[in-house]
């Protein structure tokens, strides 16, 4: 094995190539319309396999397959089928209608906005894009009404991007194949004390509430984003017309309440049945109630996060096989000897996903999760409490899940920017501020209260 400065050369090349591809994609040196970051990472894995062969440490498909976890992938697909069924049944339109009615109660406009911007994490779909796309008309509508009432156009952006960052982060705590499930599965598999499926969910959800609020506050105080008023006004009118014309069907309400009550029962009773089976049951019931076709279901499947997850698993498999994570731990150990210490390094690596925001948080989450877990275990080895590993993992997962919001490479933020007519990437900074604070809050919650 060739070594450089005491580090395995192949592992080091793997790490440099991995981070190099991420940075080059972000900086636009790798044109995303020609080679998207997911494909670039697959190509990197292929190059690493060839390099390993040349350097006399061949790795096989088996080594890479070992790192592909099927459970979150199948849960993700089942989650998309539920989302497709709900969309086709008109359940999301029913949700918008209910919100409009809520705004006429004691809650008023501010209370309805608080609920609206947090809806994605309450329902925690496997990909934030599902609810971001479905409910953005509601966010624009309420944002526009607020802006008109207070004569401040920037208020529309505050509501829209609060909603967007919440949607982006919501795939972390999703029980339908969320990023958190992967971390919980890996940590539980390695015997990290007390970790099981669902352990990180509540801490993540609570942290996301703060991510949302801090993002909105930072936009109100510092990062003011003025939307294109004409664009919003025309979209608001179009939405009002569409709603008057289409209305909301009875099946939409039934599907909405069936899903809402059904998912609540699942969370409360935690039946010993795989989540995929439960989701398929949901799909069948909604299909029967709303008489929707298989085509509608397939329409709900978004390939982007599935590919992101698979490419993340594959590059992680290659990095594990060539020893890149051992090199990463060695480097982090050296960094921990500086004034940063182990805690400083942990803070740094928990925030890497938002420093290098990818179009889907699953890319960097799946790729780095084994390394993060190893570093967490290393922290307990040097005498930090055993809870240090789940703290680091939860913080990293929240950060990774939310990181697709500020990504300039076609992240969820782009949905809001497109709808408001603002510059691409303009919502990045306020979202990053919110995510940074939320990452810390997730860590504090696990630290003080454990797996609440």
């Amino acid at each position: 094995m060739i070594e450089v400065f005491g580090l395995n050369l192949l592992g080091l090349i793997g790490l440099i190539l991995f981070f190099g591809v991420l940075i080059a994609s972000l900086r636009g040196w790798i044109p995303q319309d020609i080679l998207p970051v997911q494909s670039a990472l697959m190509l990197t894995a292929f190059i690493l396999i060839i390099l390993a062969f040349i350097l006399g440490k061949p790795i096989g498909l088996k080594d890479i397959q070992m790192n592909i976890y099927l459970h979150p992938i199948t849960a993700l697909i089942a989650g998309f089928l539920v989302a497709g069924a709900l969309e086709a049944a008109g359940a999301f339109k029913a949700a918008i209608n209910i919100l409009e009615k809520l705004s006429k109660t004691t809650l008023g406009l501010p209370g309805t906005v608080v609920i609206l911007v947090n809806i994605p994490t309450i329902f925690a779909m496997p990909c934030g894009r599902i609810l971001a796309a479905a409910l953005i008309p509601a966010a624009i509508l309420f944002g526009y009404i607020l802006a008109r009432e207070h004569k401040q156009p920037a208020l529309a952006s505050i509501v829209v991007f609060g909603f967007i960052v919440n949607a982006a982060a919501s795939c972390g705590p999703s029980p339908l194949g969320g990023i958190g499930m992967v971390g919980e599965g890996m940590a539980g598999g390695l015997g990290v004390a007390g970790v099981q499926l669902g352990s990180f969910v509540n801490a993540q959800q609570i942290a996301i509430m703060m991510i949302t609020a801090v993002t909105m506050l930072s936009m109100s105080l510092v990062f003011k984003i003025t939307p294109d008023e004409l664009l919003i006004a025309s979209e608001e009118k179009a939405e009002e017309k569409r709603e008057k014309k289409e209305g909301v069907s009875r099946e939409g309400y039934i599907s909405f309440f069936f899903f809402f009550i059904g998912i609540a029962i699942v969370f409360i009773t935690q039946p010993p049945i795989p989540i995929q089976t439960i989701l398929i049951f949901f799909v069948v019931v909604i299909m029967l109630v709303a008489k929707i076709s298989v085509k509608d279901l397939i329409g709900g499947v978004i390939l982007h996060p599935i590919m992101a997850m698979i490419s993340g698993f594959i590059i992680a498999g290659a990095l594990v096989a060539i020893g890149s994570f051992d090199v990463m731990i060695q480097i982090l150990n050296v960094l921990a000897q500086t004034p940063l210490g182990y805690i400083g390094v942990a803070v740094l690596i928990a925030n890497i996903p938002t420093i290098l925001p990818m179009p889907c948080g699953r890319i960097i989450a799946m790729a780095l999760m084994p390394g993060i877990l190893l570093f967490g275990l290393r922290m307990t080895e040097i005498g930090l409490p055993e809870i240090a590993t789940p703290i680091l993992l939860t913080a990293f997962i929240v950060n990774a899940a939310a990181s697709c919001g500020p990504s300039p490479l076609g992240g969820i933020g782009g949905i809001g920017e497109g709808n408001l007519g603002t510059a691409i990437g303009s919502s990045g900074r306020p979202q990053q501020v919110g995510i940074m604070i939320g990452t810390g809050i997730a860590a504090v919650i696990i630290s003080f209260f454990g797996f609440i």
């Binding site: 004691t106 809650l107 008023g108 406009l109 501010p110 209370g111 309805t112 906005v113 608080v114 609920i115 911007v117 947090n118 994490t121 309450i122 329902f123 925690a124 607020l146 207070h150 401040q152 208020l155 505050i158 509501v159 609060g162 669902g198 352990s199 969910v201 509540n202 959800q205 609570i206 509430m209 703060m210 949302t212 609020a213 801090v214 909105m216 506050l217 936009m219 109100s220 998912i263 609540a264 969370f267 409360i268 809050i441 919650i445 209260f449 797996f451 609440i452």
Partner: protein, 49 residues
């Protein structure tokens, strides 16, 4: 995870804080009743779901 008093306290507490922060962000007083009740509902829903 089991429903504990800590979970509800933290979730509702953070919900209230986030409600107050959103109130300020969208041009209302931090103690606007609607925003606070909204935060409370969100906190409860997050804890239950």
């Amino acid at each position: 995870m089991a429903y504990t008093i800590e979970l509800f306290m933290v979730s509702v507490g953070v919900g209230l804080i986030s409600g107050a922060l959103i109130n300020i962000s969208i041009g209302y007083k931090f103690h606007n009743k609607g925003g606070l009740i909204g935060g409370l509902i969100v906190g409860l829903l997050m804890a239950i779901l």
